[in-house]
């Protein structure tokens, strides 16, 4: 939570406005302005403030328009904020009644605050949580308003309801407790209602700042429409990482909503075994569409993995591992690993195999780095390799991970030929259960 005063970046605003701060407050809440009567310079009421328009370009959105319901009529007009001055915490019209300026047109980067933000859900990037907007706080600078904070606390809610004084009194009298505002800086707020999200440019999209695991939690908590909107706003790489962390049911609903092209692009970025699990949950037609869009090699690997049941070694493994013949040198192995690193699910272990793919040994990256460049793998490898059969059950494999403390375990078929490896991370759920979590 950020309580610190956040000042708009444009420092000239600050420079010009320092005198203004002396006799007036710095901040004002949206709830204090909503439904307020607005007067012209002669002191005649011109109407009521219904909403404010901000331009969301820039770090802090600048208030550019005022939505007004005219006095004694049901007409609602949208005016530019330049038609008003902001003094002593109130908008004052620069025009007089009966002499209204021309109406303002909304530009694409502008949105109505009450309509788009107030009472809606937003993502608090700093706390990695979904919050509901109870109030908005503006900074007053040089007669202009800048949206700087979003109020997500109970205090803000009470202010909206009009019970703040009552609750404040009770809490002070009974518990000697002062309520405080729970403000989130606009810098850490991401809107998620779908039409607004689509308007954001990549630079304005703050979701990518979140860790994929947090992003996945947030996506699971959102409703189906917001979920899709947020997911579609992510770049391919973040989308893939997030998808790996998401609950299988939600994964399916997210992928089902995409075209086969987009889906295959994201799935190719995922680790092979996670991707295979996901494809296993999709409808056969969808899987076929996605596989057709994928590169042939990747699609073949995927088909191989899909052939195995999910709870057995074959369904858990990935085929993106590195293997070398025993005659390979440490230098050659390192070069190959460096070249292929992007496509490998694990680089720490390399497996040494003969020409029938029988596992002879395993070398770790540490051993490769420590060995002389010209040393043969046959000389450095550890021949005591722990491996599992392709039809081994989840629970038994987890036991092996537990016992041997490995990062990955190779999977072999009935002829003891290497077929893939299982990553520790893919069994985390089963292993965590064994830890008594």
């Amino acid at each position: 939570m950020l309580y610190a005063v956040q000042i708009p970046e444009t420092s000239d605003i600050m420079a010009n406005t320092i005198p203004d701060y002396q006799n007036s407050q710095l901040f004002i809440f949206f709830s204090e302005l909503l439904e307020e009567k607005i007067f012209d310079p002669d002191g005649n009421s011109v109407g009521k403030l219904l909403d404010l328009i901000v331009n969301i370009e820039g770090t802090y959105p600048h208030v550019t328009g005022v939505l007004l319901r005219l006095k004694n009529s049901r007409r609602i007009i949208l005016l530019s904020s330049r038609d008003f001055s902001f003094t002593d915490g109130h908008f004052v019209a620069r025009f007089t009644r009966g002499d209204f300026p021309a109406e303002k047109e909304l530009v694409p980067s502008e949105l109505m605050l009450k309509e788009a933000l107030l009472d809606k859900q937003v993502v608090d990037i700093d706390g990695a949580k979904i919050r509901r907007v109870n109030d908005l706080q503006f900074l007053i600078a040089n007669n202009d308003l800048y949206l700087v904070h979003v109020d997500v606390g109970f205090h803000g809610l009470l202010r909206r309801v009009g019970l703040k004084p009552l609750f404040g009194f009770i809490l002070r009298a009974l518990f000697d407790y002062e309520m405080s505002d729970q403000l989130v800086s606009w810098k850490f707020v991401q809107m998620i209602s779908s039409p607004d999200l689509l308007r954001l440019t990549i630079a304005q999209n703050r979701l990518a700042q979140l860790h994929p695991a947090d992003l996945a939690d947030i996506i699971e908590d959102l409703d189906i429409h917001q979920r899709t909107a947020v997911f579609n706003a992510l770049d391919v790489e973040t989308a893939a990482e997030t998808l790996e962390e998401t609950d299988p049911k939600v994964q399916v609903s997210l992928i089902e909503g995409l075209s086969p092209e987009d889906a295959s692009e994201i799935i190719e970025e995922m680790s092979l075994s996670e991707a295979a699990d996901l494809l296993g949950d999709l409808s056969p037609e969808k899987v076929e569409g996605i596989l057709n869009e994928m590169e042939k090699d990747a699609a073949d690997d995927m088909k191989e993995l899909l052939a195995h049941p999910e709870e057995m070694a074959g369904g858990l493994m990935t085929t993106a591992y590195s293997s070398f013949p025993p005659t390979c040198t440490a230098q050659e192995a390192l070069k190959t690993i460096r070249d292929d690193a992007d496509d490998l699910d694990l680089i720490y272990y390399s497996y040494v195999v003969d020409d029938q793919e029988h596992v002879l040994g395993v070398v770790s990256l540490r051993e490769l780095l420590a060995a002389k460049p010209e040393a043969l793998l046959a000389g450095i490898m550890d021949t005591r390799v722990v491996f599992v059969n392709i039809e081994e059950k989840k629970g038994r494999i987890a036991d092996d991970f537990f016992k041997y403390g490995l990062l990955a375990i190779p999977v072999v078929d009935d002829d003891e030929c290497l077929k893939g490896i299982i990553l520790f991370k893919n069994l985390l759920e089963v292993i965590a259960a064994k830890l008594g979590r």
């Binding site: 009472d119 809610l157 309801v161 409703d223 189906i224 429409h225 299988p248 939600v250």
Partner: protein
Amino acid sequence: MGNAIYKRIHGFLYAFFGASRWRKIWLFFALIGPGIITSNVDNDAGGITTYSLAGAEYGLSLLWTLIPITGVLILIQEMCARMGVVSGKGLSDLIRERFGARITFYLMIALFLTNLGNTISEFAGIAASMEIFGVSKYLSVPVSAAFVWWLVVKGNYKSVEKVFLFACVIYFSYIISGFMGKPDWNAVGSSFLKPVFRMDAGFLAMVVALVGTTIAPWMQFYLQSSVVDKGLKADDYPFTRMDVIFGSVMVNVIAFFIILLCAMTLFKNGIRIESAVDAAQALAPLAGEYAALLFAFGLLNASLFAASILPISTAYTICEAFGWESSLDRKFLQAPQFYSLYTLMIFLGAGIILIPDMPLIGIMFYSQVINGALLPIILVFMLLLVNDRRIMGKYVNGPIMNVVSWLTVVILTLLSLAMIFFSLTGL
């Protein structure tokens, strides 16, 4: 794991039914739940009491009202389910976004009080039915409160839902005990064919109570949230509608058999009762010991079932409206408001029952009054929301649906006002 089982069943059904038919059957079973559970929670302690009283005091003459009640229940629940499926949001979420903080705040306070009243009557139902089995309420109420708390906090929702769906089957005990009352089917038929309507205060109050106990404010919130939780999409909607219709019919079938049993035994012999427990006790000499025990067991199940759902549904609804963390996957400190509300409801609901000399009948009575007062407000919000194109798009109500539903709201409002009037004047 679940997935593997799913696939195995998938393959099995595929082999037997062929592609398209099995898919429909499987989809139906995968998607049902919300409607049936909501409807069955609806047959709670208050509901069973009202049906017993209706049968005991007015015989078969009120049976016909179950047909319009079923219609109205389907109408309202269908709208809720549709809103959930289309918007992907709960009802309190939609109300907050559309009507603002102030209205939502007061509405949530009213809903909390109403649901607290309902929870109290569920625990009263548990206490009363266990006393028939010879268990003191000082034992049964704390144990069941702990059970409810444990079930929801420690179990995961998937398994809890399965327990609940199984509990729905127990309602058939009422159907069995209904047959034990040896019903006169000719008289039943004629009560539907020649509906009786009397204009005396007692009769009207009973009609109002029947409607009021079947259509309650909390149901709309619960149903919509569970539809959203299931992650149902617009394509699944036909199944959800079937689920809702099936559930609504089931509630009224149960209600039918309770009224029938009480009419055939208590009404015929002129026995006056004041509660469902009286009914169960009076049944023993007339319909046999087993019918009475089944009746009491049904009451216990219904009360326990509703006591498990009401507190959690209330906590979800309120947290959703105010944007507080609300998930059983979170730890207490991550979702303090959610757990506090949930625990408070159970604590107060069970605790008040244990206070000696508590006027339980009075509490149930006034909780019904607040229920009745809140219902029209929520129905009006619902209709405004379901007709909002920004939320519902092309799934807004059609013109005929709107006429019927507004008319229903007007009638329900009048009935609710009548109920409040009857309750307050003590008729």
